[in-house]
Symmetry: C2
Subunit: 203 residues, 2 copies
């Protein structure tokens, strides 16, 4: 996953991908081992936010070191070896999008900021509405005080979208054709992403 | 995600979940920040294995410290707040399965072991076959020498399956009923998992 040909520089593409994903993986430095926690998140005002209870390993870790990483990935399709080679297993691979962020985790203390962030959360994950607007002055939302909201101030963000850009044209065509033929859930979307990232120009 | 009521002790349930998931997130200790890399994996002979090129950040990190974490998670359903509460947004949640492993990463050097592990990989991710069996003596597979295979020797493995076990019976029933009514992809499977983990006995 380190090859440069998969790197995405277009910020709009990266943000669209983050908006489409409901959860990611927070990396914190524990006592001895790195610690990973899956969390729902929202990318909002150029930062990543997540929330949770005040207790728990990730909050302890952040209190110890605010330097965190955050990864989001989706596998679009497993690509069998025989899509491009009739003999050996080595070409078996997966097409995916992934984003890796490094940053500093900061506890959000302001009730107004918490309400704004959690509103962005709800707009992302429950766009159909169906709740009273979040308002720190509303006694129904007194729980806002006890929920922890954490902001990751982003220091770097890189993305890789791997959709066969490293293939020779003949193999690329074979894979796209086989995906169209297989037509399992996600395959059409995978071919669409292959076309968007195609290294051979317009097809 | 730290509540004890979501913890799974049944090893078969955990292994079945790991077998159903094609990729996970490797946590390594970088120079300054924890580092996360999504990787395809196989759980095989009580260890986690992944492979990749010899170069790259994760291999550098492992050379510095073999203490790693590995996380696998799947979100089964977003549960809107109004499934259990007509007013406030707070009950909005997600039902998921997650596994967190701590262990030691060891580079696999033996070509025979590499071939066995990569065979297990193929059997998991390409069960339909369609390739010549992996054999270190076969010149077609001379690439076996240059691919890195890493074993995570597991020191601890914990799992959380969150499917509403913390809900009161009335809310639990409301959520299960609404999921059945909504019937989006994954919803039927979510209800099945709710029933399996139901805290109120047989339903």
């Amino acid at each position: 996953m380190r090859r440069k040909e998969f790197q995405v520089e277009n910020a709009t593409d990266i943000k669209e991908f983050l908006a489409s994903m409901s959860f990611g993986f927070l990396g914190t430095s524990g006592s001895d081992y790195p610690h990973i926690t899956p969390v729902n998140f929202v990318y909002f005002e150029d930062a990543v936010y997540f929330h949770g209870a005040r207790a728990g390993q990730k909050m302890k870790d952040i209190a110890g070191s605010e330097k965190v990483s955050f990864a989001v990935a989706r596998e679009f399709a497993l690509i069998p070896s025989y899509f491009s080679d009739s003999e050996i297993a080595c070409p078996a691979t997966a097409f995916f999008k992934s984003v890796l962020i490094y940053g500093r985790a900061k506890i959000v203390e302001s009730l107004d900021e918490k309400a704004r962030v959690l509103t962005a959360f709800m707009e992302k994950l429950q766009p159909q509405g169906g709740y009273v607007p979040l308002d720190p002055a509303d006694p129904k939302y007194k729980e806002l005080k006890s929920v922890s909201v954490v902001k990751i101030e982003i220091e770097s963000m890189t993305a890789k979208f791997k959709f066969g850009q490293n293939q020779k044209e003949e193999k690329w065509n074979a894979i796209a054709g086989q995906l169209e033929k297989r037509n399992e859930p996600g395959d059409a979307e995978t071919v669409e992403n292959m076309r968007k990232t195609c290294p051979f120009g317009e097809l």
